[in-house]
Amino acid sequence: SQTIHQWPATLVQPVGSPLSLECTVEGTSNPNLYWYRQAAGRGLQLLFYSVGIGQISSEVPQNLSASRPQDRQFILSSKKLLLSDSGFYLCAWTRGNQPQHFGDGTRLSIL
């Protein structure tokens, strides 16, 4: 069966520090991968998606970037965090016409 892992589960970072969140999928190949952010009062927003290694599409302009160095690995990064980057970050995968399946999320707090 397929599983998706995100880490860390919780992160507290100072403003201006770098960020790296990792997401990996097991039990499938060539998945489509997604990063979402869920901020208070703003719902769930798609940030990036990837249909293959090295292929990244950005949905909203922001301070973040994404990379896909391996087929089942998706990384969310920032060089300098802003207060507005706080939120709950969710990774998801899908393949074909399957519904998206989500990881457990990372809660990011910026101080």
Binding site: Q6, N32, Y34, G43, L44, L46, Y49, V51, S57, E59, F88, L90, A92, T94, G96, N97, P99, Q100, H101, F102, G103, D104, G105, R107
Partner: protein, 114 residues
């Protein structure tokens, strides 16, 4: 761009009562997904609807998509404490290059009182 509006935003019901959550789209729905989220956790897939008039059930939860494919409802029968959480509907245009670009409603927070 497509927008989804959920109602109500929050709901408190007595255990054992029935309830309905609605999701209305600004555009025709090509696929409508219902998810459940417990606070601070990921989303759990519940059901997917694609055809006008389609209805699906899983245990005590039934989801329907109207004939015009612009509104969906989620109905819970004889609610239990395990049903508590945030329910989100998600939808998107036909897949582009295989990607499923979903937009989500703001969610409905369901509380079950014993």
């Amino acid at each position: 761009s497509q927008e989804l509006e959920q109602s109500p935003q929050s709901l408190i019901v007595q255990e054992g009562k029935n309830l309905t959550i609605n999701c209305t789209s600004s555009k025709t729905l090509y696929g409508l997904y219902w998810y459940k989220q417990k606070y601070g956790e990921g989303l759990i897939f519940l059901m997917m609807l694609q055809k006008g008039g389609e209805e699906k059930s899983h245990e005590k939860i039934t989801a329907k998509l109207d004939e015009k494919k612009q509104q969906s409802s989620l109905h819970i029968t004889a609610s239990q404490p395990s049903h508590a959480g945030i329910y989100l509907c998600g939808a998107g245009p036909p897949s582009s290059q295989g990607a499923q670009k979903l937009v989500f409603g703001q969610g409905t927070r369901l509380t079950i009182n014993p």
